[in-house]
């Protein structure tokens, strides 16, 4: 059978020539060779093709050649291979390049009559499916929210360094089109992959494709699900009619309202819903007045008694199989309640309810099986019922023993097992590579291959390149010079997509630069988003560190969204050896001997009283005083002295465009106090200090304490970003331990509190980022929006904006500020005098009005639960009592409004 088949139809793979970056477009078209990935001068394209096409899988070659080519293995099949969608698999086998233009997978059935191609493809698929383990593929919910998260991840973590971006480019539509053209194709994933299998693949691509061309980005399970959902977004439409099935994660609902018991959540219509792997309040960003419901199933691994610990602020309840297991209901401060339940192995209905009134919010759930340690519940145990993603074109699939047997036969005949591991079918060797030297224009490399010869859809240039290399294949037994080994590997693994080396490559050169992002808002320029240059990297990094980066990925640049992936140990070892050989050819200056004194002086140089390296560089868990540049604690273990000593005096020479300034311009130390300004000695001292790594003494200036502003002799003013009082807040701390914050944007008293005034550390260290809340206690917040409005009727709705103007403040004799502003045509002066009681505090506030108002002017003094007291005072939210002299106070809904005399004066007493 085997021989007759091959004789009759000459079934040799028809390669659709490769590989995104190596070129090649649709099979059969005479696409010109394009080489989007740069190739260093001296690298032989024929040799790269020879490796990428796995030629030596059929054409056996000496170990030295195989090693030099460094070609990886084709995808692993069999029991632990990926369980592709059977119908998609048939389509794929019937013509791989139609499904994924540019694939290295040959069109194995090309030589058959068209009618029999389908039959053979189906038999092969039957065989391959029969090898797979039976376990049901885990479903993935057709969740648009996950697809959206996946879209963001896909465009930031590094996928689009090689693959096509779909999001608009900052530089415009041309950039997007170019980047899409210049990308490794994804193919029609939606037909081929059940979502759960794509997740499996994304989680560990190198296990399935040892070649490492698809590297491992270190995605978490959740990230892999998000990206798979995005990549399989064409499966969404079909999901609408799919049967519900368990999919990962719990469903959450946001319920709005002021709740005080969990049962109140039951009848509320969700304001928002989603799926989460984490039971936490962070699924929504709300301060107060909401509830959360997490619902789904929990998969219990083994039968037994389980304890659950539910911590919350405010109330919460855990329900399993319709029964309350932990009851932590009611409004309260953080507290943990415990419950126990016997659960059989398998899935159980799970529901967790939570509500938040005001103030602090917390929610966490832990568990323990009997006799086990208490800990978090693995998120992989949670599922919920949803409509799962289903491969496009899928339908019933029935195993057929006859077809399976037939398929196994085809598999052997076609030589599939020469490339693919994972089956018990023997490889089918062809003529050894070194015997092809005189035949380099024959067989698969002939311009017009006979039906017996394999046919590659190579472009003329590619064919020519391969012929040249094959003709001298014996030369491939010599090891490649190290610099060419490095350059060839950077091309093959597409390292050039992210990194430039010696002027070649990098995201901007490949046109994918727009999609390299910085995490958050780290102000690091391109150094924050573009992966580092690889110029002489084998001599810059210590060998151990370089190995770590190549084997484990790199994590020293937490600000960089694009991740350094792992390409598998063989690739890592090969590149590591080549980089060391290539970049250390001239030897390195040995690190100098250093003393404890050097370490101490280095500490001084690095810190606040020296060169202030910490102005930009972080150290262990300490943020820098400015941008989050590379942590100082990693430098000692990463860098070679020989590089370091040349880098510090002139950083831009080794890293063009860097923001790192030198502190030794033209070799002269700017700091002449330490080590008498001796440049070499200073650099050596910094080196000595950095060698201490994370155990070195924390540089001076990074430990920031609280910097409380204390009003000793008179009031202290603090205009800044104050949490609760806006971006133009004016805080006033009084020596009587009363404090207020006035909002100079909305012209309102924003807050009052007692005790300590404010911590200025946030704004007086580093760049001063963010809003600082008050220190102290007994904080009362006043309603946002204008405090004064001119209304036709007392019950008119309160406006969101009014015409008003801040005019500043002046100080009274006790240096207490009197705020000045105008509302319409009325000029207001607003003075506060604190009067401490034994335990309580009072502000006597005098509001004076001048000018005219066309209709009555109203002052909104408070909002909330207002209770009128018999003595004429008003209690607000049970925490503060207000009294007025000179105005007419009125409760309108939940607002306390005071009609003020113009001209005239109102005295308000705020007691709390």
């Amino acid at each position: 059978m085997r021989s007759s088949l091959s004789r009759r139809s000459g079934l040799w793979p028809r390669f659709a020539i490769p590989l995104g970056f190596l070129a090649a477009f649709a099979a059969g078209t005479a696409a010109a060779v394009t080489l989007p990935a740069p190739m260093a001068p001296g690298v032989d394209p024929g040799e790269v093709l020879l490796g990428e096409l796995h030629c030596t899988a059929c054409h056996a070659a000496p170990d030295a050649v195989v090693t030099r080519l460094g070609s990886g293995a084709a995808p692993r099949l069999g029991g632990d291979g990926l369980r592709l969608a059977p119908h998609g698999l048939v389509t794929w086998l019937a013509n791989p390049s139609a499904m994924k233009p540019g694939t290295t997978m040959p069109h194995a059935l090309q030589g058959l009559p068209v009618g029999r191609q389908k039959e053979a493809a189906e038999a092969l698929a039957q065989y391959l499916v029969s090898l797979q383990s039976a376990g049901a593929a885990s479903g993935v919910s057709a969740d648009p929210a996950r697809a959206e998260k996946g879209r963001v991840l896909y465009h930031t973590v590094g996928c689009v360094a090689c693959h096509a971006p779909f999001d608009a480019a900052e530089s415009g539509p041309d950039a997007l089109r170019k980047a899409q053209e210049n990308a490794v194709p994804l193919g029609d994933l939606s037909r081929k992959y059940p979502a759960g299998e794509l997740v499996r693949f994304l989680r560990n691509p190198v296990a399935h494709r040892a070649g490492g061309r698809m590297p491992d980005l270190g995605l978490t399970e959740s990230e892999a699900i998000d990206i798979a959902t995005y990549l399989l977004r064409d499966q969404m439409a079909a999901a609408a009619t799919a049967a519900v099935a368990p999919v990962p994660g719990l469903k959450w609902d946001l319920l709005e309202g002021n709740f005080s018991r969990c049962r109140q959540l039951a009848d509320v219509t969700p304001a928002a819903s989603g799926v989460t792997d984490q039971i936490a309040t962070s699924v929504v960003k709300r301060d107060s007045g909401f509830g959360l419901r997490f619902r789904g199933m929990i998969a219990i691994p083994t039968s037994g008694e389980y304890g659950f610990w539910l911590n919350s602020d405010d109330g919460s309840q855990l329900w399993i199989d319709g029964k309350v297991v932990v009851d932590n209901d009611n409004t309260h401060a953080p507290q943990t309640k415990e419950g126990k339940v016997r659960l059989e192995a398998g899935r159980h209905a799970f529901e967790l309810l939570f509500f938040q009134g005001g103030g602090g919010q917390e929610l966490s759930l832990e568990w323990a099986a009997s006799g086990q340690k208490r800990g978090a519940i693995p998120s992989s145990l949670f599922t919920h019922e949803a409509r799962p993603l289903v491969p496009v074109g899928s339908g019933p699939w029935v195993a057929d023993a006859a077809k399976i047997a037939k398929g196994r036969e085809w598999f052997g005949t076609l030589g599939c097992s020469s490339c693919h591991a994972g089956t018990d079918v023997a490889a089918r060797p062809a003529r050894p590579l070194l015997e092809l030297a005189s035949r380099s224009e024959k067989g698969c490399l002939s311009d017009t291959p006979s039906s017996k010869a394999p046919r590659f859809d190579l472009t003329a240039e590619q064919r020519q390149a391969l012929r040249k290399t094959v003709a001298k294949a014996a030369d491939l037994q010599k090891p490649l010079p190290a610099d060419l080994a490095v350059a060839g590997t950077l091309t093959r693994l597409n390292c050039y997509a992210c990194h430039a080396r010696d002027g070649l490559g990098g995201p901007n050169a490949s046109g994918h630069g727009d999609w390299f992002k910085v995490v958050g808002e780290a102000d690091l320029g391109d150094e924050g988003r573009i992966p580092p240059l690889l110029n002489a990297v084998g001599a810059k990094l210590k060998p151990e560190w370089l190995a770590k980066v190549l084997h484990e990925g790199a994590k020293v640049r937490p600000y960089m969204a694009t991740r350094m992936p792992r390409f598998g140990d063989p690739n890592a070892d090969r590149l590591h050896a080549a980089l060391l050989t290539a970049d250390r050819a001239k030897g390195l200056a040995p690190a100098p001997a250093t003393s404890d004194r050097d370490v101490k002086l280095g500490w001084k140089l690095v810190g606040r009283d020296g060169l202030s390296c910490i102005a930009c560089h972080t150290f262990t868990t300490y943020g820098s005083m400015g941008i989050p540049a590379l942590s100082l604690d990693t430098m000692g273990s990463r860098l070679e002295w020989d590089w370091f000593r040349r880098y510090l005096p002139d950083p831009a020479a080794l890293r063009p465009g860097t923001r790192m300034p030198t502190f030794w311009p033209e070799g002269h130390a700017v700091n002449r106090d330490i080590l008498a300004g001796d440049t070499d000695a200073q650099i050596r001292a910094v080196w000595a200090y950095l060698a201490g790594g994370p155990k070195a003494e924390v540089p001076a200036g990074l430990v920031r304490g609280r910097r409380e502003l204390v009003a000793h002799h008179g009031p202290e003013i603090y205009r800044n970003f104050i949490d609760g009082a806006g971006s133009r807040a004016i805080g006033v701390g009084y020596p009587q331990h009363a404090n207020l914050a006035f909002d100079a944007e909305q012209l309102r008293l924003a807050m009052i509190w007692q005790g300590s005034f404010i911590d200025t550390a946030r704004h007086s260290t580093d760049r001063g980022v963010g809003f600082e809340p008050p220190l102290g206690d007994h904080r009362v917040n006043f309603p946002k929006g204008p405090a004064f409005a001119s209304l036709a009727a007392s019950t008119a709705s309160w406006p969101e904006t009014v015409a008003q103007k801040f005019r500043g403040y002046r100080f009274d004799a006790a240096r207490q500020p009197i705020f000045l502003y105008s509302v319409g045509g009325v000029r207001v002066s607003d003075a506060f005098v604190p009067k401490p009681g034994e335990l309580d505090m009072t502000f006597v506030r005098t509001l004076t009005f001048e000018g005219n108002t066309p209709q009555p002017l109203w002052f909104r003094a408070a909002k909330g639960k207002i209770t009128r007291k018999p003595d004429g005072g008003f209690v607000v939210d049970d925490v503060m009592t207000l009294r007025f002299r000179g105005g007419d106070a009125e409760v309108v809904g939940d607002e306390l409004r005071v009609r003020v005399p113009v001209p005239g004066t109102v005295v308000e007493e705020l007691n709390w």
């Binding site: 202030s612 300034p661 440049t679 205009r719």
Partner: protein, 499 residues
């Protein structure tokens, strides 16, 4: 020790000796020491407990300097023209919001630009503490993002204070008029004036009263610049275009620039685009351009009357700028001037006696000087440094004037000079490498009969930095230049040869 190891030891020792000798030779004379001969620097000691992160400076009558701080204080420093260790500090006010602009005409009112407003302050009872703190104008937005700084100028010839507003971060304008320059009139009106700002570091006038500001490398800014704030103009970063709807007197927003293009190209397509006047080539002369001051002293600060002095925060130095107008557009050259300041040079104030006060801070942005904050005074020693005085574009090259007569033999040789030109990508991404580099030959170098100037014949390229090094030029007395490099940013080529 056998003979072989003895030889090895000898070789190592000898080599070591040579290396030490070489290093010593290099270290012998740092640039700042050479500069100090002409421009000595005094550093004021700052009392314990005062954090003088000097955001702005203003001279007041009676040897008094007002210094505002990033933490919101204003200090009155007395005795600044006397011995540095005799100065005294008084806190005039505190609790303002990051004051980066100060001005007073000496009538008791001090105008301060805070993040959210221009404010004026006065001491009404003579105790050197502000009693009245009045809001003059607050017609712009502030949302709590730290990057939303506001720098205030001294008044222009019409009495307006110009406020230059950093974007919200590097790319966007989330609050009203972020990325704009506004004029605040003496009666508190706010006039939106120029768009396209990114991250100003200082603002001030040249000797003709035209307003300039420094902007920093980042999106749409390939390097740091000095830019002319022409009313109605757009200076490069389109992030603030959304506010044209609040500035209807200026008409519709300009056309968006094309990312990846060049300034010289986009200028031809966007009539509002005012090209930069000066490029401070990144990592060649500074990394973060900051405050500026004009030498109006008529010679008391040395030979550079009417030139501008600009601080660089990262490099802790002061640069010198010569500006000219060609075809109605500002352009010119910048030169290294004085390095070795104690902290990041942020605020500059020229005093009538020819003192240049420089305030420093390195908080949040590191600086070479290494001190967290500083107040210093640069003076002219009276010695005339041998420097390029002016560098003017001519139709076929440049005309250089010098502060001393040159030696015609050296300055007349073309190989006394090295020349190249380059530009930056005008793009929405951060910064830019130097691109489009050319090295046209200097065709001739002609020394004027009086030895005061040299005409260089060389190809000019609009929209490029023209980097000229003059290592071979000697003065008539045989001395080399104190600084041997000039960076001329050229927008326009003069049509006719003046002079």
């Amino acid at each position: 020790m056998n003979m072989d190891s003895m030889r090895g030891w000898l070789r190592r020792t000898l080599l070591g000796g040579v290396m030490v000798g070489m290093v010593a030779a290099v270290v012998a004379s740092p640039q700042s020491d050479r500069e100090a001969e002409y421009y000595p620097l005094q550093t004021f000691p700052i009392p314990e407990g005062i954090v003088l992160e000097a955001g702005a400076l203003q001279l007041l009558p009676g040897q008094r300097l007002a210094v505002s701080t990033r933490l919101g204080d204003i200090y009155l420093v007395d005795g600044v023209f006397g011995a540095p260790d005799k100065v005294t500090f008084k806190r005039f006010t505190s609790g303002l919001h990051e004051v980066l602009g100060l001005w007073s005409k000496g009538d008791g009112w001090i105008y301060a630009t805070q993040r959210g407003e221009v404010t004026r302050l006065k001491d009404t009872d003579g105790d050197d503490q502000a009693d009245v703190i009045e809001t003059v104008a607050d017609g712009w937005g502030i949302n709590g993002d730290y990057h939303e700084y506001a720098f205030g100028s001294k008044p222009d010839k019409d009495g307006n204070i110009w406020v230059v507003l950093c974007l919200t971060g590097s790319f966007n304008s989330e609050s009203l008029f972020r990325g704009w320059a506004l004029r605040v009139t003496p009666d508190g009106q706010v006039i939106p004036t120029t768009s396209g700002l990114r991250s100003p570091g200082g603002v001030g006038t040249n000797y003709l009263g035209d307003m300039f500001y420094t902007d920093n490398q980042g999106p749409w800014n390939g390097t740091c610049w000095l830019k002319h704030l022409k009313p109605g103009g757009f200076v490069g970063h389109p992030g603030g275009f959304r506010w044209y709807n609040q500035a209807t007197h200026l008409g519709p927003a300009p056309k968006e620039p094309l990312s990846g293009s060049r300034i010289a190209v986009e200028r031809t397509k966007i009539p509002e685009l005012i090209p930069p006047a000066i490029a401070f080539p990144y990592n060649k002369l500074g990394q973060s351009a900051a405050g500026l001051a004009n030498d109006y002293t008529g010679g008391k600060f040395g030979p550079f009357t009417n030139q501008l002095f600009v601080g660089d925060q990262t490099w802790s130095l002061v640069m010198r700028v010569f500006l000219e107008q060609v075809n109605g557009v500002y352009q010119g050259a910048c030169f290294p001037f004085r390095e070795g300041l104690a902290s990041g040079s942020l605020s500059l104030e020229m005093a009538p006696d020819g003192s240049l006060f420089v305030g420093g801070t390195d908080r949040g942005w590191g600086a070479r000087g290494g001190k967290p904050f500083s107040l210093e005074r640069l003076r002219w020693s009276g010695k005339n440094p041998f420097e390029v005085h002016e560098m003017r574009a001519r139709p076929d090259g440049f005309e250089l004037t010098f502060t001393q007569p040159v030696d015609p033999a050296s300055a007349g040789k073309t190989d006394a000079y090295q020349f190249e030109n380059y530009t930056y990508i005008y793009q929405s991404n951060y910064g830019s490498p130097e691109v489009d580099k050319e090295k046209p030959p200097i065709e001739s170098a002609t020394v004027a009969p009086d030895g005061r100037s040299v005409r260089l014949k060389v190809k000019l390229t609009p929209g490029h930095v023209h980097e000229l090094k003059l290592p071979g030029v000697r003065s008539a007395l045989g001395a080399p230049l104190l600084h041997t490099v000039a960076y001329y940013w050229l927008n326009e080529i003069p049509k006719t040869a003046a002079r």
